[in-house]
C-alpha cells in the first residue's frame, strides 16, 4: 500500500485538524484534545511510513502534485506537495519522535491548567513542521516556516504569566524573524529570477537544472553569482531557525517553555527545519560550486558558520549549570555540525546526523524532563545529584542518550553520524579548519555530557528536591525506553559498511567503503571521546559535589573564563548594546521626527496663516480704509461749495428745465446750428 503524492497533504493536515479540535475544546476536555493530537500524529506517522515506502520505490524521483493557488496577472500562482526520500525520512522521524513526545507530555503536563491548549499548540507545531517538510514550494515552505515560528512563540511563552517566558517567546520570534527576512528576500529574488517558487515542476522548478544554470551564470557587480547571493539569503533563514551563530541567542532562552516543547523544538521540529531547508535547496546552494572565478561560494559560508557554531556551542555548554541549558547549547553545537556537514558538501551526512540527533536529543530532553518532573521542577544541576539510584529507568535511558551524543564508539547512533560528518570534513579541499573545530567539539561534547550526568545522577542529593525525587510514571518512561532503543539502533542504517540511508537519500548506490578507509580519523575521534569522558569522570565523578554552593572545579581554576562562558560569551549583552540600541535609537528618531519636525512644520504653517491674517487686517484698516476716509473728506468739502447754488424750490428747477429746453431748441433750430 502506497500513499499517492496527491494525498501527501494529509500528513500535515491531520495534526492541523487536531489543533483545530484542541482550540475549540473547552478546558475540561483534556482527553479529547490529547487523544485527538496523539491519534492524528500516529495517523500521520502511518501515512509517513506509507509515503516513505512510495518514495523508496524510485529514490531518485521527485514526485510532485502542484495546484494553482490564485491568479496573478496573466498567470497563476502555484503551490504543491513534494515526495522524495529526503522528506519522507523527515516525515517519519518527525511524526515518530513527535508521537513519543506527545505521549510523554501526557504525563509531564498532567497538572497544567491549560492542558488542552498545550496539545492544540503541539499539534499546530507538528503540522507546521510537516508542512515545511512536504512543501514543494518555497512559499508554502515559508508559510509553514512562519507557522512553526508562531507555534514556537506560543509554546515557549506557554507559561506566559512568567515574564521570562513571555520575553523568551518574543525573543525567539523576533530573532528568527530577522533570519526570515533574509529568507523572504532570497525567496523574492529567486521568484523574480526564475518566475516560480516550485522546487520541482517537471523541469520548470526553481531547483531544477534549467533555473539553476540561469542563476549561477548571472553575476552581481561584485562578481558574486546570483545563486550564491540567493543561497546565502535563504541560509539566513536557516541560521535564524536552526540557532546558528550569530542568531543562536534565542535557543537557550527558549528553555523557558515546558520541557516537552524543548524536546520538540530541539529534536524534531524547529531547529531541524533550518538544516532541512538548506538540504532541500541544496541544488541551489551548490550551484556555484562549479564556478571558479567567484569570490565566494555559498557553501563555504555555511561551513564556516557551522564550524563556529559547533565549537562555540560546545564551549559554552561546559560552563552552564542548568540541565536544560547544557542540552540547549549541545543542540547549538550539534546543529553546527550539521551545517558544517552541509557546508563541506555532504548533505547526506547532515541529514543522517539530523535523524540520529533527533532521537537522542529527544531522549535527552525527555530524560531531563523526567528528572525535572521528579525533582519538582528543579533544573539547576548543582541542586540535583544522586538521582541515579532513585530514577533508574530515567538514568539508564539518559545515559544512553549521553553516550550517543558524546559519540561513544560503535554501539551508539551518534557515533556513526558524527563519523560521517568528520569524514566529509576531512575530504573538503578548501580548508581543514572545520575538521579541527569539529574534533575539538568532540572532546568538549564528551566532557560536558559527562559533567552533566555526573552532577545530576552521581553523588548524593544536594537539595530537598533531589532527595525526595521519585521515578516518573510509565507514560513518561516508556517513551524514554523506546527512544533509547532507537538511539542505539538508528545508527546502523548508515554505517560505512552498509550505507543504506545514504544510498536511499541520494537515489544512487553508495558503495560501502572498507573498514579501514577512514580508520585513522575514526581512531582519532574515538580517542578524543575517550579523553573527554575520562576527563569528565576524573573531574566530576571521582569527587562529587557535596553542597550546592560549592564552586565548580573549573570555575575554581579559571573563574573569569567560567563566568564569561556562563554568561554565554556575553553575546546577548553585545546585541543589546548594538542592535538593540540602534533599534531604539531609530524608534526615538522616528517618533521625534513625527512629534517635532512634521508636527512642527504643520504648526508653523498654521502660525503663518494666522500671521498673514493679522497682516491683512492691519493693511485693511490702515491702508484701504484710511484712503477712503481721506477721499470722502475731500468730496464733502467740494459738496459744501457747490450746494450754495441750490435754492430748494422744486418748481423753480422744473421751470428752469422747461424754459431752458425751449430756449435751447429755439437757439439750435433758429440759430442754424444743426
Amino acid at each position: 500500500m502506497n500513499l499517492p503524492v496527491q494525498l501527501l497533504w494529509l500528513i500535515p493536515a491531520l495534526p492541523l485538524v487536531a489543533a483545530g479540535i484542541g482550540a475549540l475544546t473547552p478546558r475540561g476536555g483534556r482527553p479529547i484534545a490529547a487523544g485527538a493530537a496523539i491519534a492524528a500524529l500516529i495517523g500521520s506517522f502511518i501515512l509517513s511510513c506509507l509515503a516513505l515506502k512510495t518514495a523508496l520505490v524510485d529514490p531518485a524521483a521527485h514526485l510532485t502534485a502542484n495546484f494553482s493557488w490564485f491568479d496573478l496577472g496573466t498567470g497563476t500562482f502555484r503551490l504543491g506537495w513534494l515526495l522524495d526520500p529526503l522528506n519522507a525520512f523527515m516525515c517519519v522521524m518527525v511524526t515518530f519522535v513527535g508521537t513519543l513526545i506527545f505521549i510523554f507530555s501526557l504525563g509531564y503536563m498532567k497538572e497544567d491548567a491549560n492542558f488542552t491548549r498545550f496539545f492544540c499548540f503541539l499539534s499546530l507545531f507538528a503540522a507546521a513542521m510537516l508542512g515545511i517538510v512536504v512543501a514543494n514550494s518555497l512559499l508554502l515552505l515559508f508559510v509553514s516556516w512562519e507557522l512553526v515560528g508562531l507555534a514556537s512563540y506560543l509554546l515557549i511563552g506557554f507559561w506566559f504569566h512568567k515574564p521570562e517566558a513571555a520575553a523568551a517567546a518574543k525573543k525567539a520570534f523576533i530573532t528568527t524573524r530577522i533570519g526570515d527576512l533574509g529568507l523572504l528576500l532570497g525567496m523574492l529574488w529567486l521568484y523574480d529570477r526564475t518566475g516560480t517558487l516550485l522546487f520541482f515542476d517537471n523541469g520548470a522548478g526553481c531547483l531544477e537544472a534549467g533555473a539553476l544554470a540561469g542563476l549561477s551564470s548571472a553575476t552581481l557587480c561584485s562578481g558574486l553569482a546570483v545563486s550564491t547571493a540567493i543561497g546565502l539569503l535563504i541560509f539566513c533563514g536557516a541560521v535564524g531557525k536552526s540557532g546558528q551563530f550569530p542568531l543562536h541567542v534565542w535557543l537557550p532562552d527558549a528553555m523557558e517553555g515546558p520541557t516537552p516543547v524543548s524536546a520538540l523544538i530541539h529534536a524534531a521540529t524547529m531547529v531541524a527545519a533550518g538544516v532541512f531547508l538548506v538540504a532541500r535547496v541544496y541544488p541551489l546552494m551548490s550551484a556555484d560550486q562549479a564556478l571558479t572565478n567567484v569570490p565566494l561560494h555559498a557553501l563555504t559560508v555555511v561551513a564556516a558558520i557551522g564550524a563556529i557554531t559547533a565549537l562555540m556551542g560546545a564551549v559554552i555548554a561546559v560552563a552552564q549549570n542548568d540541565i536544560k541549558r547544557v542540552l540547549a547549547f549541545s543542540t547549538v553545537s550539534q546543529l553546527g555540525y550539521m551545517m558544517l556537514a552541509l557546508g563541506v558538501g555532504s548533505w547526506v551526512a547532515a541529514i543522517f546526523h539530523l535523524l540520529t540527533h533527533a532521537f537522542f536529543k529527544a531522549l535527552l530532553f525527555l530524560g531531563a524532563g523526567s528528572v525535572i518532573h521528579a525533582a519538582h521542577h528543579e533544573q539547576d544541576i548543582r541542586q540535583l545529584g544522586g538521582l541515579g539510584p532513585k530514577l533508574k529507568v530515567t538514568f539508564a535511558t539518559f545515559a544512553v542518550g549521553m553516550l550517543a551524543l558524546a559519540g561513544f564508539p560503535f554501539l551508539f547512533s551518534g557515533f556513526w553520524s558524527k563519523e560521517a560528518i568528520l569524514h566529509a570534513a576531512e575530504g573538503w579541499e578548501v580548508s581543514h579548519l572545520p575538521l579541527i573545530a569539529g574534533l575539538i567539539a568532540v572532546v568538549l561534547t564528551a566532557f560536558y555530557m559527562t559533567r552533566l550526568v555526573s552532577e545530576t545522577f552521581f553523588g548524593h542529593g544536594r537539595s530537598h528536591a533531589s532527595e525526595h525525587a521519585h521515578e516518573s510514571p510509565a507514560v513518561m518512561t516508556v517513551p524514554l525506553a523506546i527512544l533509547a532503543a532507537c538511539s542505539v539502533l538508528i545508527g546502523f542504517v548508515g554505517t560505512p559498511a552498509w550505507p543504506w540511508l545514504q544510498s536511499q537519500l541520494t537515489g544512487e548506490p553508495v558503495h560501502p567503503h572498507g573498514w579501514f578507509e577512514g580508520a585513522g580519523l575514526m581512531m582519532l575521534s574515538i580517542l578524543l571521546v575517550a579523553f573527554g569522558i575520562g576527563a569528565g569522570l576524573a573531574i566530576y565523578a571521582r569527587r562529587t559535589r557535596v553542597t550546592a554552593s560549592q564552586r565548580d572545579p573549573i570555575e575554581a581554576k579559571a573563574p573569569s573564563l567560567f563566568a564569561f562562558l556562563g554568561a554565554r560569551m556575553k553575546l546577548d549583552e553585545l546585541y543589546a548594546a548594538t542592535v538593540g540600541k540602534v533599534n531604539s535609537a531609530l524608534a526615538v528618531v522616528s517618533d521625534g521626527l513625527d512629534r517635532y519636525v512634521w508636527a512642527g512644520i504643520v504648526n508653523f504653517l498654521g502660525r503663518l496663516g494666522e500671521f498673514a491674517g493679522v497682516v491683512y487686517r492691519e493693511a485693511d484698516e490702515e491702508g484701504l480704509n484710511g484712503g477712503f476716509d481721506t477721499g470722502s473728506e475731500t468730496l464733502r468739502e467740494a459738496g459744501k461749495v457747490y450746494s450754495r447754488s441750490q435754492t430748494g424750490d422744486a418748481h423753480a428747477y422744473l421751470r428752469a428745465l422747461a424754459v431752458g429746453f425751449v430756449v435751447l431748441v429755439l437757439v439750435i433750430t433758429l440759430g442754424g446750428l444743426r
Partner: protein, 103 residues
C-alpha cells in the same frame, strides 16, 4: 398727417398737460402725478415709434417701455414715500415749503 404723427401729437400734448400740472400745482402729490403723466407720454412715443418704426421685430421700443414702466413704479414709490416723510416733518404737502434740506 400720418398716424404716427397723430400719435406723436397726442403724446406731446399729454406731456405738456403733465408739465403744466407739475408746474402749476403746489400739492406735491399732484406734481408727482404730473411727472408720471410726462413719463407715460414718453412711453407712448416709444411704442409709437416701435409700431411705425423701421424694424418692429427688434422690439427695442417695447423693452424700453417695460423698463420705463418699472422705473416709473420705483419713482412713484420713492416719491410718495418722500411726500409722506416730508409731510411728517412739516405737516404740509405744499412743495414750495419743502425747500429746506435740514428738518
Amino acid at each position: 398727417m400720418t398716424t404716427l404723427q397723430l400719435c406723436l401729437v397726442i403724446s406731446s400734448l399729454l406731456f405738456c398737460i403733465g408739465l403744466v400740472g407739475a408746474l402749476s400745482r403746489s400739492h406735491t402729490i399732484l406734481v408727482l402725478l404730473g411727472i408720471e403723466l410726462m413719463l407715460n407720454a414718453a412711453n407712448m412715443n416709444f411704442i409709437a415709434f416701435w409700431r411705425f418704426g423701421a424694424s418692429p421685430t427688434a422690439a427695442t421700443g417695447v423693452l424700453f417701455a417695460i423698463f420705463s414702466i418699472a422705473v416709473a413704479a420705483a419713482e412713484a414709490a420713492v416719491g410718495l414715500a418722500l411726500v409722506i416723510a416730508v409731510y411728517r416733518h412739516q405737516k404740509s404737502v405744499r412743495l414750495e415749503e419743502a425747500n429746506r434740506l435740514k428738518g
